[in-house]
Symmetry: C2
Subunit: 377 residues, 2 copies
């Protein structure tokens, strides 16, 4: 376990996927060097499409776009740069917005050597990533996450997509980025509630994969709440490392291994859907969902009640919700049965056995699920 | 070169793509055995989504759907089957239609073990294939082509997608089918003009890849016009073999090898776009486009005029057009510059050197292209 002075200022976590491998570069106050890194990773760069969230167009996306426009192609011409800002919020992960992106890419004379640069949170990464995956059947893209949630989760692993009106993330593609560039400094413009929400996914990695990291989190939660640079970098790097390992073993979610990343998420998606998208932040829903999953695990006698106590204490130390008074069992269950992780109509859950280890369990009865939800009201 | 009695009644052409490899099964009057073949290839089968063209819903799609509904899952339940007919024509390759498919798949409780069965021509294969590629980020699909064009070209190789209002095939995915099942009998309901149009792609394989096959076509064009079963099977198998080889070498069109399949197609897409989708059939446009490309090759002194003469004679023997009086150079050129095979705004063409061999040439001047178009008016 590293103490502050041992945490490196810049580090690289590699996602190993054969010819689709890519680096996650993590540092503080280095956004000015992003353009050189992008050019280096891509090899050639002549046309960049910067797609961003209206909330971070200034200063972050503009900084990246301005830097790119100052660069030259290998042929000596200026790099062509187009920038499009998308309205903030989950409602932008829609077919309408995707169509707008496609039309804009066409009008911007996008070809197969162009690159999409996604600057924003999970909504932008998912939307811009799917636009990149589908335009001319796939062009390269780079993720520049600006929220903690995107840094530790959605920007890594190649899941892209949009929502259908009644089903989250229902269409999309597995499409790996060419690089993920993380500067913790960009979170200076991130509201506290969003930052805190991202910590739920950080806690998740401790529970599903990394007991020593869970212990580090128990000791350092207050530093994370204060947004201490070194603690934040360490938490991001450890989270990315866990995610990269899992994704490297099961890129397309076929073996079941990748499913462990969905700890708490089947409940969380049902919470988000029944609350109306955006009412409860994703990370907040995940925190509550992990509590429901831990309760279900205890009910099924798969883990000790102590696990739930430690998880509850850590989530509280991270200022995350641990209960959800508005939970509506009758509304949530049908949503869960429609979840795309459901196989042949069979409800499956990721359930903790002990801190650092989870299992995937199918054929779970509705009554147990209902009790688990009710235990968190 | 095989004579009639040596042509096998059933044959398999393998598309070799590592863990994405699949068989193309070609035969006559064997559609009743398709369901067993599908179950065998997939290993498990519990839910099938049959997507078809309204023109072939009866009898072909119904035959397949009825057969599937009579089957049992490994668990002993009946296989669940949903069927959706899409209006005929290129205009169905639209975002609106894709959205309709996604909603229908959601309402049909589609999950990651479901399979899409595309029964129809290129429009259905491309549309249903992209729906399969994108729903829950990818489910399996099977191609059952019912047009000659789809049998020899679009059903093989994994290109799926839809049109944007002003750009053909501009968005989509590379998504390989689990199998391609071809029964020449289904062409009994195919109008002559559509069948003849498909022969253009057959001729294309002779020019780009297979001189002995080109010679066989010169000798057997009349048998193909008469739709002689054995000749048709041989032409399909040879075409699929060429396509499978090229796709196996360059699945995602990155090395330039796969680009040879676009012989005549840059011109053809411009003809189709300026004529309005559907006015000129795709194969007809390809026939004219190959003539334009051969003219351009002669103008650039890359091939002998004899090649154009043999190509013209064979296309005529196949009752295909070899000129296009309505060609509008001023309208076609801007479309060609927007073609997604254009790299960094640089016009590239597939040009024949001799029968059986083509080359890819970039940096071609507009004046040569204009002459080549005008030579075919």
């Amino acid at each position: 376990m590293l103490s502050g002075s041992q945490i490196p200022k810049r580090q690289t976590v590699e996602v190993s996927l054969g010819d689709r491998s890519y680096p996650i570069e993590i540092g503080t106050d280095w956004i000015e060097q992003f353009c050189d890194t992008i050019a280096g990773v891509l090899g050639d760069l002549s046309h960049a499409l910067v797609i961003t969230d209206a909330a971070v167009e200034t200063p972050w996306a503009m900084k990246v776009a301005t830097g790119l426009a100052k660069m030259n192609t290998t042929g000596g011409d200026s790099v062509r740069v187009n920038l499009l800002a998308v309205p903030s919020g989950e409602t932008s992960k829609s077919l309408t917005q995707l169509d707008t992106l496609w039309q804009w890419m066409l009008e911007s004379s996008t070809d197969r050597r162009s690159v999409v640069i996604a600057v924003g949170g999970g909504v932008i990464g998912d939307l811009a990533g799917f636009a990149a995956a589908s335009f001319t059947r796939g062009i390269r893209f780079v993720q520049i996450p600006t929220t903690l949630l995107a840094m530790v989760d959605s920007s890594v692993g190649g899941k892209t997509g949009i929502n259908l009106p009644t089903a989250k993330n229902m269409v999309g593609a597995f499409w790996q980025p060419a690089a993920v560039l993380i500067d913790t400094t960009v979170m200076s413009t991130l509201p506290d509630r969003s930052y805190i929400s991202g910590l739920a996914e950080v806690v998740k990695y401790g529970v599903i994969d990394d007991a020593p990291f869970f212990e580090w989190l128990e000791l350092n939660a207050s530093k994370l709440i204060e947004r201490d640079d070194e603690a934040v970098r360490y938490a991001i790097a450890q989270s990315c490392r866990s995610k990269a390992n899992v994704v490297g073993e099961d890129e397309r979610e076929t073996s079941g291994r990748r499913a462990i990343l969905n700890y708490g998420h089947t409940f969380a998606h049902a919470i988000e859907a029944t609350a109306g998208y955006g009412e409860v932040l994703h990370g907040e829903a995940v925190a509550i969902g992990m509590q429901m999953a831990a309760n279900l695990s205890i009910e099924l006698k798969l883990c000790d009640p102590d696990l739930l106590q430690r998880q509850t204490a850590l989530l509280k130390a991270c200022q995350l919700p641990t209960t959800y008074a508005a939970a509506d069992v009758n509304a949530m269950l049908p949503v869960m049965k429609r979840d795309k992780k459901v196989s042949h109509g069979n409800l499956r859950f990721v359930l903790p056995e002990r801190i650092g280890s989870v299992m995937l369990l199918g054929e779970i009865e509705g009554s147990g699920v209902i009790h688990a939800i009710e235990a968190c009201r």
